[in-house]
């Protein structure tokens, strides 16, 4: 539908963006807008000021370092799919990004936006959780890093506080033993349950999506029985909706966890 009145600013530096976010109560960063715009159309949310991040070239970089892969928050999902650095360092990110929504959405949608909106049906929150990413957040007082385990606070809520901005996501270099599995409605519809897994040192780090307000992290031996046991042991209390009862979601969570770990192991 149509947006409520809103103010708009298009800073050209991260510092200016942070200043704007801090200066206006009710300011929200506008990344790709593929979630926020729709929420605003429904007027379910009405930020007072949109701080458009699309001119912040410094947030669009993809680089490899000794720490692994550093992804600017404004890297689009399409760029993630195409990036040779991503393909070499952590191809799972590209493979999952390619499954998100559709071409047009991937052309605008960003990794930072997907992660920060933390809609339970999003794919990337469980992926960066499983990969043990670190988030770099900038605010008026400077930069801080947040381990992914502390990053997701709730639906649409992250450790990025008002006045702050997620600037980059650092994904550690991995062995390549990563996997992802999801059950969407149809071939490519809204996600019902998803899971990402990463195996290192004989342990699988699994993040389950769509079963709680934030990705549910589990660490277990990668054998199927152990994975199943771990998911059951997590005593998930997933939401029910038209697509899945809590019971069905709980059941699917176990299966996608197993499949994600199997893919990681293969």
């Amino acid at each position: 539908m149509l947006l409520a009145e809103v103010e708009y600013a298009r800073p050209t530096s991260v510092d200016d963006a942070v200043r704007l976010l801090g200066a206006h109560d009710g300011a929200r960063p506008l990344a790709g807008g593929q979630t926020l715009t729709n929420v605003m159309k429904a007027r379910a949310a009405a930020p007072d000021v949109l701080v458009d991040l699309n001119k912040l070239e410094e947030l669009r970089a993809i680089s490899r370092s000794s720490d692994g892969l550093e992804l600017g928050a404004m890297v689009t999902l399409a760029e993630l799919v195409r990036s040779s650095e991503v393909a070499e360092a952590r191809p799972i990110l590209a493979e999952v990004a390619a499954k998100i929504a559709d071409v047009q959405v991937r052309n605008r949608g960003t990794i930072g936006g997907n992660i920060c909106s933390n809609d339970p049906t999003n794919h990337l929150p469980p992926v960066v959780s499983a990969l043990g990413a670190t988030m770099t957040v900038r605010g008026a007082d400077g930069e801080r890093t947040v381990p992914v385990d502390e990053f997701f606070l709730g639906v649409y809520m992250t450790a990025v506080a008002p006045g702050e901005l997620l600037t980059s996501i650092t994904v550690p270099a991995g062995s390549g033993a990563d996997g992802f599995a999801s059950i969407p409605i149809g071939r490519d519809g809204t996600c019902i349950v998803n899971a990402a897994a990463s195996i290192a040192d004989g342990q699988a780090r699994i993040a389950l999506g769509c079963v709680a307000a934030t990705p549910v992290l589990l660490t277990t031996a990668p054998e199927e029985a152990a994975v199943r046991e771990a998911v059951r042991g997590a005593k998930l209390d997933p939401p029910s909706d038209v697509h899945a009862s809590a019971e069905y979601r709980r059941h699917l969570a176990e299966i996608v966890a197993v499949r994600a770990v199997q893919e990681a192991a293969s």
Binding site: M1, I185, G189, H243, I255
Partner: protein, 828 residues
Amino acid sequence: MSETTVTPDRPITVEETETAPGFIGVNVPRKEDRRLVQGEGVFVDDVKRHGMAYVHFVRSPYAHAAITRIDVSKAVALEGVYGTLLGEEVAAETDPFFQIAPPPAGELKDYALAVGKVRHVGEPVVAVAAATRELARDAADLVEVDYEPLEAVVDTEHAADPGVAQLHDEAPSNTIWQGNFDYGDYDAALAEADKVVRIKRLHFHRFSSTPLETSGAVVEYNRGTGQWTIHSNNQFPGFAIIMMGPALKVGMDKLRFVSQDIGGGFGNKICTHVQLVALCLLARKLKRAVNWTEWRTDQHTANSHGNERVFLDVEVPVRSDGTMLGFKARMIDDCGAFTRYEPLGCIIWAQVTPGVYRWRNVRVDFSQVCTNKSPCGPNRGYSRMQHLWFTERVIDIVAEQLGLDPVEIRKRNYIRADEMPYETPNGCVYDSGDYARCLDDALKLIDYGSIETRRRDAESRGKLLGVGIGSTLDSGTNNFGQSTIVNPELQFSGNNEVATVKLDIFGEIVVTLGTTPQGQSHETTAAQVVADLLQVEPDDVTVRAGHDSYWNSHAGFSGTYASQFAVTGLGAVKGATEMLREEILKIGAAVLGAESTEEVELGGGFVKRKDNPEAALPFMACGAIVNANNAVLPLELRDITLNCRYVYVPPHQLPDTERKYGNLTLTYANQIHACVVEVDPETGVYDIVDYGAVDDCGIRINPQIVEGQVQGATAQSIGAATHETFVYDEDGNLLTPNFYDYHVPHALDMPPMKTSSVESASPFTPLGAKGMGEGGGAGLSAVAAALQNALQGAGRPIVTSSSNPYHRVWELLQNPDESRSLVSVDER
């Protein structure tokens, strides 16, 4: 005539021939496309007027509530807001809409806006008009409405139970209509049966075709003449005018309906008369044109849904050889909060009472209830689709229970080609068709012979493979006389459609239709018929785009709905063109000095003497003479106008309202589809891995267009069978109000689709063609059957719902006995 054609390598190009081209049956490229592929179509929201206001409806958040206060003062105070319209104004200025239902349910009051009470989530309560779309929305947010919530009625089966809240105070209960249908001798059939299969409950769910263009209108009011011009995408202006004239207390000519391009309709755009009346009042009140474009969420929440139906206490008497003698059932149809086009659905299903089967003894207790859900209306396959799904479920459940082969039991019970035309137990006449042959063709398309091998292959991959058949009908060219079966006081019967074909002053052949196409390619197929009759090329024929009631080329039932254009529309085109041809021949004969029209013929845009082709009069000369130089004509030819209006009227008769008996439609296209699914037993997730569709709609005017309709109808029924469902919670909130949660098929979702056709000409229609646009929803039946077949190795659950998203398949896998407990067999 009967001929099988296999899907050709597309595209078929028209072969250039020196002689008469013959365009009927040829894949002529569409005339509509040139503008549409360039974005130059004119859809309703493309229409703009100076100073036009944009309208936003304030809608009810409650399913059932009394309105206790409305305050629009803050909205009106907003700069740029032109005004509002409230239910109380509507009640003062209009009469409630005419009701098809007989009293007492017919006493219910339905207005353009809620008056005193809301009855479904999304019901329009206040209309706000402003200078921009955004401002109208802003102002709508400032309208204050207080509600006193009432108990919401959402359960179809129990909507009419004692003690349940009542939707309409003027009606005595939530039952809108009830009737008993009793054909053949059901008791005798039961006595004769060797076995009786019983099914406690089957459920056909709510969904809609959700045309990609939502409803909308631009309405202008001419204060000098008191006439409204309604640019809209309403697909059945004839019906809208019948509803709106009395409500607005004006004559029909005051309501000018105009449309050009319509972005899909599928029946969902028939009942927009409600909003159109609100817009008419606003345009008059505000003295400016008003635009209303429905939002998608509103389209899902408050536009017409397809009817939901439950089938209870089903009883099927069967002989031991698998011959089914008929059925008995109690059916409850749910029309939602208002009746609008209903309760016509209570009789429409009877067009296909026995489905494609030789079932002679039928006893149905049919009722319709209202509930606090979106109003229902015609939706592709209207009311027959529900019933045909029921007949297909019955046959597959009987086969499963008695251990019979689904193919064999169908062939044993199908009406046979040599029985055509076939009169059903309730007096309908199936015009032609060869269902068994179509079934064979469909099975060939999916390589039925290899199914067991593929089943084993699937098993080796941990999957369950299943195959299912859907055999359905698309009955077309309604006899509106069937409305008298639901209400004998009604004065409707027959059907009609109009075409006007003229030869103009510069030799231009212009066709004006009465229809309102929404993608059905009327411009193209009409041109094909005209070209053949006048011996010209389709490119020589101009078919006006869209509809305008001021073209005077429409009649009471004009519109595009209910699978009939190939019969009524093209019948009218044929009639008008034949009139025009006669006139052209007369002019030609006179000018060329022939004794009679027998001595002249048409060819290449000329009238020619048969004995001397050199003596030829171009059409342009004919047009010029009659239109601008008519003193040269002999007096006896002065009544020739070269402007021929023809009304096609099908040969319908009044039905017997007492016995609920008679021929309710003219043609019966059939669809025999076969589908193969693979189910992941761990999750209930499944894929359609193969799909074959064989359709027979008689003579195909343009095979490529027919095939396109088949593919589209199939996609819709696959969508409905899998993920498309309107789900309400116990409070009447719609939980699938947008394309996130109402998942329609995307390009990736569609299975490989193979199509072929059989052409069994209709003996009853002008061109041997049958209407076929609705399809019969064969995919719904085929998917349900394939799932049941796939799960036979997993506890043999019975599929009892038309909606089978993954979670339902998983539930069937978890608890097969629950569904099995709904069916039983009595041995005699």
